[in-house]
Point group: C2
Amino acid sequence: MRLAILAHEAFPGRAKTAQGLLRYGEHDIVAVIDRATAGDQVSDHLSDVQEAPIVSNIGDTPEIDALVIGIAPIGGGFEETWRSDVTGALSRGCDVWAGLHHFLATDTEFARLASENDCQIWDVRRSPDDLSVSDGVARDLDATVVLTVGTDCSVGKMTTTMELVQAARDRGLDAGFVPTGQTGVMVDGSGIVIDRVVSDFTAGAVEQMLLERKNHDYLFVEGQGSISHPAYSAVTCGILHGSMPDAMILCHEVDKEVVHGYESFPLRPVSETVDLYESLARPVNPCPVVAGALNTSSTDTEDAREHIATYEDAIGVPATDPVRFDPDELVDVIENQ
Amino acid sequence: MRLAILAHEAFPGRAKTAQGLLRYGEHDIVAVIDRATAGDQVSDHLSDVQEAPIVSNIGDTPEIDALVIGIAPIGGGFEETWRSDVTGALSRGCDVWAGLHHFLATDTEFARLASENDCQIWDVRRSPDDLSVSDGVARDLDATVVLTVGTDCSVGKMTTTMELVQAARDRGLDAGFVPTGQTGVMVDGSGIVIDRVVSDFTAGAVEQMLLERKNHDYLFVEGQGSISHPAYSAVTCGILHGSMPDAMILCHEVDKEVVHGYESFPLRPVSETVDLYESLARPVNPCPVVAGALNTSSTDTEDAREHIATYEDAIGVPATDPVRFDPDELVDVIENQ
């Protein structure tokens, strides 16, 4: 499919979905829509991803099959300044994909335009109707289950998970991907956005996805949020206990000191965060943090190596930046478990 | 209101909602409906609660205003063997209150009968439409926030919370109750059943309830589940981080060794559970476990005192059974914080 990705005033740093689709999706990205960087190319801002022009609105976008809302704002609301791009896409008969808590299909104008122009609104965050509580059986799977966990939101859990899946497959391992967020679900074409399910079914929804993919030798589960997060920790906890991993990889970002969007909450030392994840796993299914993934995109290469060394010392296990350097180091650790 | 409480084959041990309404509700309970113990009186099974006859079906129930589903089965499903009691109540023009995940108002037959007989179905677990993510502000409240936490489900968190509210009010303290489960909401007449909200909004829904009650000097928050529970820990975690308590009380039950309904999961030592709750609170708002509440209902009084002493030694803080003995001991600890 040919996609345009809406990322107004958020590209690239705060447009996780846009980055994920540009880097890992199999779809053809024909434009990014961002009024703040319009006129640039994607390559002016990101390396090692698909190239595409950045335009200011849907009217400047080449022919597409779908418009994707490529931003995941805190709270998941819809910004009214995006409305003309969405109505423009629907009026042209293009589908719209969105991962917001606010379902676009419930908007009267969008629903009418979709109906009139025979196109679809895919609210990726809408959860299946058949979810239930966990049976507590993920620990019985033969697959080696690897979960990415984080010191905060937006530190690289999705990216690390996708890099691991690719690297594992590149070396011939039978690796499955368990997407738990809107970007992962859009890239994979399946999965459940866990932060949208009924709280009681959080672990159960993750367990269900693992059972559906149980014949893989390795299952890489995309983590969400952080266990130390004042707003999102419930989701993190449910994913940990629902997936009952055999190994965790702690994701972190260079120089991150406070919780994103909740800046009055300082992060605890990373070693304490390792202990907290392991302590929380223990009563349900003991599991070590076996490696670290550090997002070093804000530094140069030499500094990045120093930061990684410091991070390794702090968490006591091997670490790398799987985007900048080589995710194979992490796959080695997992294969040798 | 005059209520009958349905608790087939579950009264009293597995009928938490029935017990809560009998012990703490201000409504008049005119019958318990339980085909297994029909013919008995409530006092044959429970002490210090409202007296009522136990009958086998809705046909044997005196005049009522509402039928309450007084069971909270794992998964929250509706048992078809309860159908004739529900249809019987609606046919008589009585309301029906239910705290199940399965909403009775969505059942075609129930909806039709309610409409025909001009009565209401109150699905207590249905959450408000205006929930959102937490702002992370509960720690800024002037009120002293006390949260009950547990080693498992069904160990006495709701009961302990209600005993604390009553005991605090009895000594003249300005104490508010923050209900988070179906029974608490039915007893209080307000509140949000947290295990039913969208996972991302778990902490936010709790925060919203605290803000609505912020003018009390003390807020007693009903905890849910357990942080060590393979299925329900997400709810527990969201309540802890959303309420940002100043003090926690760890609830436990004598001789409990495995997770209820998940018997292949042994409980960890209670001291480890104390550490886990405190470690999880620390990154968001540091908070100690200040006391313990032990459900000793399965033992005689002498043994109960021994069990409490052992429990106190294990958790390192004062403990009691607030139902069997005196909740004032716990209020003392809280007042002296």
